[in-house]
């Protein structure tokens, strides 16, 4: 089954097993965080750089490139 999650108010359909980052990219997004006023997205893709972090179900600092998207997840962009 393909999970659907909420991102910043939009419904995102992920392929089963896709990471949150993979699903956001597949939805046409390249960035989902701001740092010092500039946009950031995936950089290292393997959990090293912390550039792609999102808030998932209220918990901040989740690396979108590592976290598999689950049905019903509520994902929010971050800024720092």
């Amino acid at each position: 089954m393909s999970p659907t999650f909420e991102f910043d108010g939009a419904e995102i359909a992920a392929r089963d097993g896709q990471t949150i980052a993979g699903a956001l990219i597949a939805s046409g997004r390249a960035s989902w965080r701001t740092a010092a006023g500039a946009e950031r997205g995936v950089f290292c893709g393997i959990g090293i750089c912390q550039d792609c972090t999102v808030t998932v179900n209220g918990a901040a600092g989740v690396r979108a490139c590592l976290r598999t998207a689950c049905d019903g997840d509520v994902v929010e962009p971050e800024s720092r």
Binding site: G22, E39, I46, D51
Partner: protein, 459 residues
């Protein structure tokens, strides 16, 4: 038969080979890995998504995975996946981990005890700072590879692949298979014909540990796409407002300084950067393992003896943390480390040592791609070097010469969320000194409450 309990940290090629070898030698084995699936970066995959054309040596992976599954069925192996190991103690040997969904609250606290530890923590891409490199659409080469393999996506549709080393070729191939157009592959090194490194066409090297064949496949795939492969060239600036719109490419001299007058603009919506690899040394440093010496900004590696033993009793090391050598070297080193850690005597390891030594040739060829000092001349004063804390190059150069602590406090370079993993080597290169950014008290990101709270279960 061995009665030892061998703990393996990392389940890429080196860690899997170590685990299988230790099981074969009769040991009990516990493998800890941060990923959801075995395989590390080299065999990163998802059963439902990954295109099999992106995998190499897959049969070896399946055999290793199946051998570990058999070990679990026999009651001799334990596998802890999604395990963020945050502390390694060596006397006595104890690994502390949080197990559960990445970065989720409420992960299980676990402690693993054992008689011997094999460190196989691998490496991540090193990308040099470039003006514009924080724009969305710029990723490391490894990220492009990971997204293509694990998620079946590409960040853009027209991608420039740039950096140094033969690993750019499989990345270009993965991007192409995943649906992007690779506009050019740029290799910063000049690769002189008479040097000890590659020939002008890197895929024509003799079949060093099987790499020749693999690289020839990549070359054919690039030719099929009509993708130019240019040596002595690099990306010196990335342009765009809210995301990548183009990149400025220049010829580079032998020191990697851009040659004035050779700049040209290339239209692209994504750039994949890989200037080499940074070994993931945190666990080895915390365990107290001796490292090789290297100038600031160049990678150090774990010192290993002929049987892959580190300077610390009961701790072995295998794979990229002992020197960047690719998957074949990692497999051979892991095999040797696993046998030795299980208690197989030195005299009985001659064949395993010979298999390991045969992979040295490929590792030596990689030296022709080492980062050269002239890269800093493509920085602008306002180029962000530390991405986490948005620290500009000029601030780091201004503060260089201060003591390490003063520099870090004045600029905050290396003190952000990634703890200097991304910028550390570049900051050290710009300052001309080692700052000790890689001696980290915590090996994985965790919440204060996770550090303080709760009892640890024994795995």
């Amino acid at each position: 038969m061995s009665r030892r309990h061998v703990v393996v940290l990392g389940a890429g090629p080196a860690g899997l080979a170590a685990a299988v070898a230790a099981l074969e030698a009769g040991a009990r084995v516990t493998v800890l890995d941060e990923g959801e699936r075995l395989g590390g970066q080299y065999w990163r995959h998802h059963e439902a998504i990954t295109d099999r054309r992106l995998q190499h040596g897959w049969e070896r992976f399946e055999r290793s995975r199946d051998r570990i599954a058999a070990g679990i069925a026999e009651g001799r192996a334990v596998l802890l996946q999604r395990a963020a190991v945050w502390r390694v103690d060596v006397e006595p040997l104890r690994l502390h981990a949080l197990v559960g969904k990445p970065d989720a609250p409420g992960r299980r606290r676990v402690v693993v005890r054992g008689d011997a530890l094999v460190l196989a923590t691998g490496a991540h891409d090193r990308a040099l700072p470039i003006p514009g490199w924080t724009l969305p659409g710029v990723t490391t080469a490894g990220a492009a590879q990971a997204l293509a393999k694990r998620d079946g996506v590409t960040v853009g549709t027209r991608t420039l692949v740039a950096g140094a080393g033969p690993f750019l070729l499989p990345v270009a191939q993965s991007l192409a298979i995943a649906g992007a157009r690779v506009v050019e592959v740029l290799e910063a090194s000049r690769l002189p014909r008479h040097a000890a490194g590659w020939t002008a066409r890197p895929w024509e090297l003799a079949a060093a540990a099987g790499k020749g064949l693999e690289l020839a496949e990549y070359a054919r795939s690039l030719l099929g796409q009509r993708t130019p492969y240019r040596t002595g060239s690099g990306v010196v600036r990335i342009l765009g407002e809210r995301r990548v719109e183009a990149a400025v490419v220049a010829r580079l001299d032998r020191a990697w300084r851009p040659i004035p007058g050779t700049e040209r603009e290339v239209a692209c919506d994504s750039v994949a950067l890989g200037h080499g690899f940074t070994p993931r040394l945190d666990a080895a440093i915390q365990a107290g393992c001796a490292l090789t010496e290297a100038p600031p900004g160049s990678p150090r590696f774990v010192v290993a003896d002929p049987d892959q033993r580190t300077s610390v009793d009961g701790v072995w090391a295998a794979g990229e943390i002992t020197g960047i050598g690719g998957a074949d070297a990692a497999l051979a080193e892991g095999d040797l480390a696993g046998r030795s850690a299980a208690g197989t005597p030195h005299a009985a390891l001659a064949a395993a040592r010979r298999r390991r030594d045969r992979t040295d040739a490929f590792a030596r060829r990689l030296e022709a791609h080492a980062i050269q000092d002239g890269w800093s001349s493509w920085l602008e004063d306002d180029t962000l070097v530390c991405r986490c804390e948005s620290v500009e190059a000029a601030a780091i150069v201004r503060a260089s010469g201060s003591a390490s602590r003063a520099l870090r406090l004045a600029t905050r370079a290396g003190l952000g969320a990634c703890q200097g993993r991304t910028c550390g080597s570049s900051v050290e290169a710009l300052c001309g000194e080692r700052l000790g950014l890689d001696a980290r008290p915590l090996l994985a990101p965790m919440r204060i409450g996770e550090l303080l709270g709760g009892s640890e279960a024994t795995a």
